[in-house]
């Protein structure tokens, strides 16, 4: 898959995301309503098929029906299965997880090559022909979405050294032709809904009000524009706390504190220079 994106967008990542918000362009995203998920994994399969992602091997995790384990460079949709059996209740939670396409995306901020860009749909995409596999995005993602894409053929992997990093593109190629993402298309229960993010937020709010009547713990996740990532392009309706599904309860984009870090570094560098000067005095 080769993506054709104007590279000028890569150089001014911050400015890009700011003008994006200012212009109020038609931002696309997902609303994943976990109350409707039946755990069929059609989204996982459709994603792998459409994006030609390598298999992850036949491993048995022992974690309910989840043998996928986590999102990674080669798994862009992951269905979590949470079994809650105790004295008070017995229930089974399922949630199809995906890249959050953050308003303030850590991966995009820290990418040193400009390989990660914000598209005209407001989504965050890694251009695999620009990515140099440094792995900085992996540790800058508050949700652990990104990792190295490991291909099935180990010999190929060796010759190319570390591969490039991979994550959900929100089916950028399909969006370009007016199609919806493969996972949303394949979802049989409309647990995965695709559309304009503002509309999805409204829809999620209405749905929450109805679900709350039956489930106390129901809550929306990443719908708030004032949270640590400026809200997600992917929003979720959950029936329990985020960490139960393996989601961070308080995600914060690490670059939020970047000026503070450079200030501390400036002070430390000056102190080091001062120490050298002191040591070099002819006393």
């Amino acid at each position: 898959m080769t993506l054709t994106i104007d590279l000028t967008t890569a150089t001014s990542a911050r400015a890009q995301s700011a003008t994006y918000l200012g212009e109020r362009r038609d931002r696309r995203g997902f609303f994943t309503d976990t109350t409707l998920c039946i755990g069929c994994k059609a989204c996982e399969v459709a994603c792998k098929e459409w994006n030609e992602l390598p298999q992850d091997g036949y491993t048995f995790t022992g974690m309910s029906y989840d043998n996928t384990g986590e999102l990674s460079g080669s798994t862009w949709r992951h269905v979590a299965f949470v079994e809650q059996f105790d004295d008070s209740r017995s229930r089974w939670l399922m949630e199809s997880d995906v890249c959050k396409h953050c308003t303030h995306a850590g991966c995009l901020d820290v990418c040193p090559t400009g390989a990660i860009v914000r598209t005209e749909f407001g989504t965050v995409v890694i251009q695999d022909d620009v990515c140099n596999g440094c792995g900085y995005c992996v540790v800058a993602c508050p949700f652990g979405v990104i990792s190295e894409r490991v291909d099935a053929k180990p010999e190929e992997h060796r010759t190319h050294g570390r591969g490039t990093m991979g994550k959900c593109t929100l089916c950028y190629d399909r969006l370009k032709t007016g199609e919806e993402p493969a996972c949303a298309k394949a979802c049989p229960t409309e647990s995965i809904q695709y559309g304009n993010v503002d509309e999805l937020r409204e829809r999620a709010q209405l749905r929450l009000e109805r679900v709350r009547e039956s489930f106390d713990g129901a809550q929306l996740y990443l719908e708030n524009e004032n949270d640590g990532i400026g809200g997600g392009g992917s929003i979720f309706l959950l029936l329990d706390r985020p960490e139960v599904y393996g989601l961070p309860p308080h995600p914060v984009v690490p670059t939020k504190h970047l000026p503070q870090m450079w200030r501390a570094a400036g002070v430390a560098a000056a102190a080091l220079a001062g120490a050298v000067a002191l040591a070099s005095l002819r006393l």
Binding site: T11, G133, G144, G161, V244, A264
Partner: protein, 286 residues
């Protein structure tokens, strides 16, 4: 198993770094290379030609080690050049690549001129550039790891630069003591001792900034063992430094111990970051 007790089956929420052990070595070598370059200029101004010569060559050697580690981790040399394609202030790695390129280029030029005697004025100018960018080279890597979601790094983001600066002073002093005769190594000994005092202070600040709960990542497993080793080596090295004024053997021993201590400290920080990512509790409870 009740998954609610430890997140989702106790699995990590954030992904630990894919960086290999070459990266903490890069942090270490860059640290003492930066300190050595600045110390070289100090020696030059103090007319200590022998130390100046040794230290600028050491700085260049440190850059070479750093370069090999960086490219080794990226796997292909052209990937380093790919990073010079854009300058992105929002990415400490992008900023760092330019700091490293400037510092490395200047140090190499200065060392080459020093060793060959060719183009001395250019060499001296390069030496000044190397000395001024050196401290940045030593500490920018703290910003690089602070700007991640690894709890042990991000929540220590204000004290990590101080720790990296202190370790750089300690190891740059060690380099000076190892490669120059004791008579010319007075500034190196003083810098090592200043580092020896500053490192425990920086570690104290780090502990305060993290709080007891998050600091556990620095005490557990490999991170904990390496922290202990680092402390032991720094203390031994600093103690030996006090007796290194006349005895070249003790000076060499102290220098080597300090360098090893600095390396252990960088690895301790690296592993603390990994540990804090692998256990979801550090991400959940903040």
């Amino acid at each position: 198993m009740n998954a609610t007790q430890s997140g989702y089956y106790g699995r990590p929420i954030v992904k630990p770094p894919e960086w290999t052990a070459l990266i903490p070595i890069y942090f270490w070598a860059g640290g003492w290379a930066g300190g050595s370059a600045t110390l070289a200029l100090g020696a030059r101004l103090a007319k200590n030609e022998r130390a100046a010569r040794t230290l600028i060559v050491a700085a260049a050697a440190g850059c070479a080690i750093s370069g090999v580690c960086l490219i080794g981790d990226l796997k292909r040399p052209e990937r380093f050049l790919n990073m010079l394609r854009v300058f992105k202030p929002s990415s400490p790695m992008s900023v760092g690549v330019f700091i490293f390129s400037l510092f490395g280029g200047a140090s190499m030029t200065a060392a080459a001129s020093e060793l060959t005697g060719v183009a001395r004025p250019i060499g001296r100018f390069a030496e000044a550039v190397s000395a001024t960018t050196g401290p940045l080279m030593s500490v920018y890597t703290a910003v690089l790891i602070g700007d991640t979601v690894m709890p042990a790094w991000h929540h220590a983001r204000r004290s990590l630069p101080a720790l990296f600066a202190a370790t750089s002073a300690l190891t740059a002093g060690g380099v000076g003591m190892f490669f120059t005769p004791p008579a010319d190594a007075k500034p190196a000994r003083r810098l090592a001792l200043l580092g020896g005092v500053a490192v425990p202070m920086a570690l104290e600040r780090l502990r305060d900034e993290l709080g007891t709960f998050q600091h556990e990542a620095y005490q557990r497993g490999k991170a904990g063992r390496l922290s202990h080793l680092a402390r032991l080596l720094s203390l031994t090295g600093s103690a030996c430094t006090l007796f290194a004024r006349r005895n070249a053997r003790i000076a060499r021993f102290a220098g080597a111990i300090l360098l090893a201590g600095g390396l252990a400290e960088r690895f301790a920080v690296y592993h603390a970051g990994r540990i804090s990512a692998e256990d979801p509790k550090f991400t959940i409870e903040h």
